[in-house]
């Protein structure tokens, strides 16, 4: 029996080791193959593909697609010009909640990078659902790296880690190509209460449970502590046509507490842009909207060095007013 056990253990270990080697080789090879494009921020949704090492940037953007839109459709260069700053946009489309942002920020600093200011474009709905946080497949479309794999395992567990690894062997990953869209020319002809309501239902897919809010608020506070120990952090509530979103008063109260406890300013710029023609859909600015927002609202907020609890909009863009 002893001989059989030894034989079994030896062969099983060899089989596992061989397969692990093959897997590692394939995963690294596929990641290297995809990274051959030398991606730029506006060409990809990936954070790691554009993450430098031991570099300094002026601004890091965090948030959901509302922040990623500042890089999409070649907006990135426009925003950099408007702000006169070098930006690294780590925001994540498809619901980049607190968990994905915490993971990305950890990797950013672990790679020896530095930044002057982190601008976190925070939406209230990210604090109300696991779908935007630990259940979010934030590792999809990310090249394989051990430092990020640790974050994936920390927040998404073994299942997330498995999916992260195996996705590197899928055709959709290997076939990834840069997005060279020049601008987002979509417009919203007129605000639709029905469309806004549907979108809000989609974003608040788990309701507005205060216990869930508290859970992700605690995680957000952890991010605040982590970030402020290394650099300056600013919160911005981005513009939207969705109207009153549930949880906004709770979010504002939370941000006020961060301001008083950690000295982190926030800017409520939800109503800074209300002209539908400056939006591609009810909660994403189009290229014109992005350019205007960056120059007229974001830059003064950042240049103002965070004075005051809530910097009011300098002027309302366009002739339209947001319906009550």
């Amino acid at each position: 029996m002893h001989r059989d056990v030894v034989r079994f253990v030896a062969r099983a270990a060899t089989l596992v080791a061989l397969n692990a080697l093959v897997l590692a080789a394939l995963v690294y090879a596929s990641s290297a193959y995809v990274l051959r494009h030398h991606w730029r921020n506006w060409e990809t949704e990936s954070d790691l593909a554009i993450m430098p090492a031991r570099e300094h940037v002026d601004l890091v953007f965090l948030g959901t697609s509302h922040a990623r839109t500042f890089s999409r459709a070649s907006n990135h260069r426009r925003v950099e010009m408007a702000l006169d700053r070098r930006i690294l946009n780590l925001a994540r489309g498809g619901g980049g909640g607190v968990v994905p942002m915490r993971a990305a920020l950890s990797v950013f600093f672990e790679r020896g990078n530095t930044v002057d200011t982190i601008v976190y474009f925070i939406d209230p709905w990210v604090l109300y659902s696991a779908a935007w946080n630990e259940d979010n497949a934030f590792y999809e479309g990310e090249p394989f790296s051990l430092d990020f794999a640790r974050q994936v395992y920390r927040y998404a567990g073994a299942r997330g880690l498995r999916d992260y690894v195996l996705e590197k062997l899928t055709w959709s990953w290997i076939d990834a190509a840069p997005d060279r869209t020049e601008q987002d020319e979509r417009i919203v002809p007129a605000r639709s209460a029905d469309a806004a309501a549907k979108r809000i239902a989609n974003l608040y897919n788990a309701g507005t449970d205060p216990a869930v809010f508290r859970k992700y608020a605690a995680l957000l506070e952890d991010l605040v502590v982590f970030a402020t120990a290394r650099t300056r952090l600013v919160f911005v509530i981005p513009p939207t046509l969705l109207g009153d979103e549930p949880g906004t008063p709770e979010l504002r109260a939370l941000l006020k507490r961060f301001r008083s406890t950690y000295g982190v300013p926030f800017f409520d710029l939800r109503d800074s842009i209300t002209t539908p023609a400056l939006f591609g859909d009810h909660d994403h600015l189009n290229t014109r909207g992005v350019t205007l927002f960056a120059a007229e609202f974001l830059r003064p907020a950042l240049d103002g060095d965070g004075r005051g609890p809530q910097t009011p909009p300098l002027r309302t863009a366009g002739a339209g007013r947001r319906p009550s």
Partner: protein, 487 residues
Amino acid sequence: MLFNSLEFLVFFPTVVALYFLLRHRARWLLLLVASSIFYMWFIPAYILVLVFTIVVDYVAGLLIERAQGFRRRAILTCSIVANVGCLVVFKYAPFIARNVDALAAQVGWIPPLPVIDVILPIGLSFHTFQAMSYTIEVYRGHQRAERHFGLYALYVMFFPQLVAGPIERPQNLLPQLHREHTFEYERVTSGLKLMAWGMLKKVVIADRLSRAVDLVYDHPGAHRGPAVLLATVFFAYQIYCDFSGYSDIAIGSARVLGIRLMENFRCPYHSRSVREFWRRWHISLSTWFKDYVFIPLGGSRTSRSGQYRNLMVVFLLSGLWHGANWTFVIWGALHGLYLVGSIATERLRRGLVAAVGLDRHPRLHAAVQVVITFALVDFAWILFRATSLAAAAKVVSRLFRGWGALLGAAGFAGLGTELGLDRLDVVVLLVSVALVEGAARLPEGGSVWDRLAERPVWVRWAAYSALLWWIVFFADAGQRQFIYFVF
């Protein structure tokens, strides 16, 4: 605990390692504890139901062995009533109450019976039948009453087959629990390979097919005939891969521990008649009903009408065993009618075959028989899968509509979309099904593993690795419970 879960991936190797490290004397305790943990992973409190039936049947076995005549029969009856009583309370009471209420409402009787829906203890139907087979075999004198309470408890609770069979017989399982088993390389690796094979069937084929089936069967009115037909065919293969996959994992994991469980499936869709189908499908249940219901009623050694009656009783009970719903009862009745019909029309069919000359082409004849048998079985599966008789009727009515839209390439392409399957799904399914069917149809019999054993080591290891990667890569997302868990 599900076999297709990360918890089981940790649980099983741990149990196996401890099992072979421990002395034989302590192994029953380890397996009992492990089986308790396995069972309590679902709803811990329901272990009390298991404990109740174990205690009742353990005592009953000892008493039956010592008793004579009427007393012997009375004790057996009490044991069966206790077991069936658990089934009635947890599984059939709500169904009975709902139907009595409906009947009462028809005749104008006002006070309704209380309908208390209780979550069904997992595997209740399986371990209850396994426990009953013990007391019946002791009563018949075919099995000595087990003195060791722990080993008897393990007989009922042995985790590989606890929640979804195979439903074992005491003559097979109890002696093996007494014997010491050593770690044998060939047996252990054979068990692991069978487990992997079961996983392939379950997580790659069954779970993937269930997406298409659920899509259609949840809203049959929204789908065309071709989609409904395909979904029905898919369900036949889904339930086969799901259940036989579970059985493979159960048998494989028991084999690793040195325990040989009975075969539960034998390529049922290769059957040439419904009678043959029931000799190949869920063999442990069909033999249970044959030995403990059909034969005691007289079996086929009675008049023709008596035989028909016995068949209908068995299949009505079998349908009821599967679920407390009229769909299962009708499903069982339909199979009963198939068998009655096949006996009644045997001469006619033989004449028909001779008349068209099919008997001169045995292979074609066999193929026709297989196709017809599959069609009959698959039609019955509609009732099995549908949530109600009305839903089943809806599915059947949709089967014949919308066939015109299938004409042209676009029609077929649209079918994939309608079933929620993309190109990758189709390729994965085709390759996986080809693997499973190919393994089942090896010329000159034998298993695919025996054939592989003849190849060089690098070929074997490449095949094992490829199988594991296929499973890991193409396991359908989402941990779906095994279908038969709900029985």
